[in-house]
Amino acid sequence: MSPVSQTRSPLDWVKTAISRYWGVVGVLIAWQAWVTITGVNSIVIPHPINVVGDLVFNPGVYLANAGQTLFLAAAGLILGMALGTMVAIVAWSSRILSGILVPLGLIFSSVPVVALIPVLARLLGYDVKTVLGIVIIISFFPAFVFTAAGLKSLPPGSSDLFKVFGASRWTRFVHLVLPSAVPNWMIALRLSAPPAVLSAMLAEFLMGKSGLGFLFRQSATEFATERAFGTSVIATVISVLCFTSAVAAEKFINEKWK
C-alpha cells in the first residue's frame, strides 16, 4: 500500500501507530477526563478503564458469546453466498427462471431485516436457527446480484473464441462463465461480511438467548454499562476484522484473476 522500505525500526511502528490512531486515543482520554471531572453516574456512562477491566478480567463471557455470534455469522454468510450463487446460476441458465427469480429476489431483499426477524422467529423458533436464517437472507442478495452480473461479464472476445473452438454449453460454463464471475463474487463477499455480523447481533438482540447481541441487551437492562460497552468494543473489532479480511481476500484473488 505505502512505499515502505523493507527494514522498519520499532520506532517507526510507534510513529505510524500514533499518526493513525491518535484520534482514538484522544477520544478515550477526553472521555475518561470527562467522567472523572463531572462525576457522571457510571450507569449513564462507564469509565473507559472499567470497560477495559471488564474485558480483561471476564474474557470467558465475551469469548463464548463472540464465538457463537461469529460462528453464526460465518455459517450464515457461507450458506447465503452459496444459495445466492446457485440461484444466480439457475437464472443464468434459463431466461424464464431469470424472469421469476430476479424480481422475487429484489422484493425479498427490500423487506427490512427488523421486520423479517419476528416472522422468521415464529417460523423457526426463538433461538439460533432464526439468527442463522436472518444472516442467510442478508448474505443471499449481494451474492445473487453480483454473481448474476459476473456470469455475464466475460473477457472481450472470449465468447466468440469459445464458439469457434466448438465448446459445448457445459465446457463454456465451466471454463469461461463461472471463472468470469469470481471477481464479482469477491465483491459480494466483501459487501456481505460486515452486515452478516451486524444482522446476527441484531437478531440476537431482538429475540436471542445467547451471543453478543443478547449479551448487550442483557447487560444494558441490568445497568451493567461496562459489560454493554465491552460488548460493543468486541462487536466493532469483529466487524472491522471481517471487513479487512474480506478486502484482503478480494485483493489476493484479483491479483490472480484480473
Binding site: P155, G157, V164, F165, G166, T171, H175
Partner: protein
C-alpha cells in the same frame, strides 16, 4: 505451391478448403433499418493457401471471416469449409482463430491459455506441443506468466500459439496485429510469416494494411466500401520462406502502389 486462382476452371466445391459462394449478408439494425454489409462476395481458397482480405474499415471483411467461422449466418449464398457447413469444422475443433482482441483468459497462465483448446475439445493436454509452440512464437520461459504481465505483442503471439495448438485445418486471422504499434506489427508479421511457412495451414487473413497483406499472403483480395464487394485480386509472386528484405524490392513497392490505388476510389483522398 500450386495455389489455385479463383479464375481457375470451375471444380466441385469440395475441392476448395474454403468456399464463399456468392454470399450476401444483411444486418437488421435497431429500429428495423437494414444494412447490407456484403453483397455477392465469391471467394475460393485452396488447400494450404494463404489469402489476405484487404479493405477499408467497415467494408465487411470481418463479416466474411465471421461467416467462415460460423459466428454469423449468411443472408444469401452459401459458405462451405472443407466441403461442409462451417459449424461442422468448429464442432470438430479443427478451426483456429486469432482476433484483434487477443481474448486470453486473464485468470489462466500462458501455458493454460494455450492448453485451453485441448480442454474445450475434451482431449488430454499435450505439454510437448505447447512447449514447441511457445518456442515457435518465441515465448519459452513464459509458461507461468499471466496475460496482464505480457506486452501487447506477446499476448498476440500467445493467441496465435493457441490458434495453432490443435493443428487446425483452417486458420482465421482477424487483424491479429491491428492494435499494435507499427514497429511491433512489422516484427510480428515477420514472425507470423516464418511460423506459417513451417505449417502451411489454409489461412484467411483480414487486414487493412497493404504491406501486411502483401508480405504474408499468396493472394490478396481487395474489397470496396459498404456494401463490401470484391474489386481486385492479385497473386503475390514472392517465394517462401520470405525474408523481410522482400518488402524493400521494387516489385513489392509496385504491387503495394497498385493495391493502395485500388483501395482509394477516385475523388476520395
Amino acid at each position: 505451391m500450386n495455389a489455385p486462382l479463383s479464375s481457375a476452371p470451375a471444380t466441385a466445391p469440395e475441392a476448395w478448403a474454403i468456399n464463399v459462394d456468392h454470399v450476401g449478408k444483411t444486418f437488421t439494425l435497431d429500429g428495423g433499418k437494414e444494412l447490407k454489409a456484403i453483397d455477392d462476395v465469391d471467394i475460393k481458397i485452396g488447400q494450404g493457401e494463404f489469402v489476405a482480405l484487404l479493405g477499408p474499415s467497415g467494408c465487411g471483411k470481418s463479416t466474411i471471416l465471421r461467416l467462415v467461422a460460423a459466428l454469423e449466418d449468411v443472408s444469401t449464398g452459401r459458405v462451405t469449409v472443407e466441403g461442409s457447413n462451417p459449424t461442422a469444422l468448429s464442432r470438430a475443433h479443427r478451426l483456429g482463430v486469432a482476433f484483434q482482441d487477443h481474448a486470453l483468459l486473464p485468470w489462466l497462465t500462458i501455458r493454460d491459455n494455450i492448453a485451453l483448446p485441448y480442454k474445450v475439445a475434451g482431449r488430454p493436454v499435450d505439454d510437448k506441443r505447447i512447449a514447441e509452440l511457445l518456442a515457435l512464437v518465441g515465448l519459452s520461459g513464459f509458461e507461468k506468466a499471466r496475460p496482464r504481465q505480457l506486452s501487447g505483442g506477446m499476448r498476440q503471439r500467445v493467441s496465435i500459439a493457441r490458434a495453432l495448438v490443435l493443428k487446425p485445418d483452417v486458420l482465421l486471422l482477424d487483424e491479429p496485429f491491428g492494435a499494435l504499434d507499427a514497429v511491433t506489427r512489422r516484427h510480428m508479421n515477420v514472425e507470423l510469416q516464418r511460423i506459417w511457412s513451417e505449417q502451411r495451414i489454409t489461412t484467411l487473413l483480414v487486414t487493412h494494411s497493404v504491406e501486411e497483406a502483401l508480405f504474408l499472403a499468396d493472394r490478396v483480395i481487395v474489397m470496396s466500401g459498404r456494401p463490401g464487394r470484391i474489386i481486385k485480386e492479385i497473386q503475390v509472386p514472392f517465394a517462401r520462406p520470405r525474408s523481410p528484405d522482400v518488402q524493400r524490392t521494387m516489385e513489392f513497392h509496385h504491387l503495394a502502389d497498385e493495391l493502395t490505388l485500388a483501395l482509394e476510389p477516385e475523388g476520395h483522398h
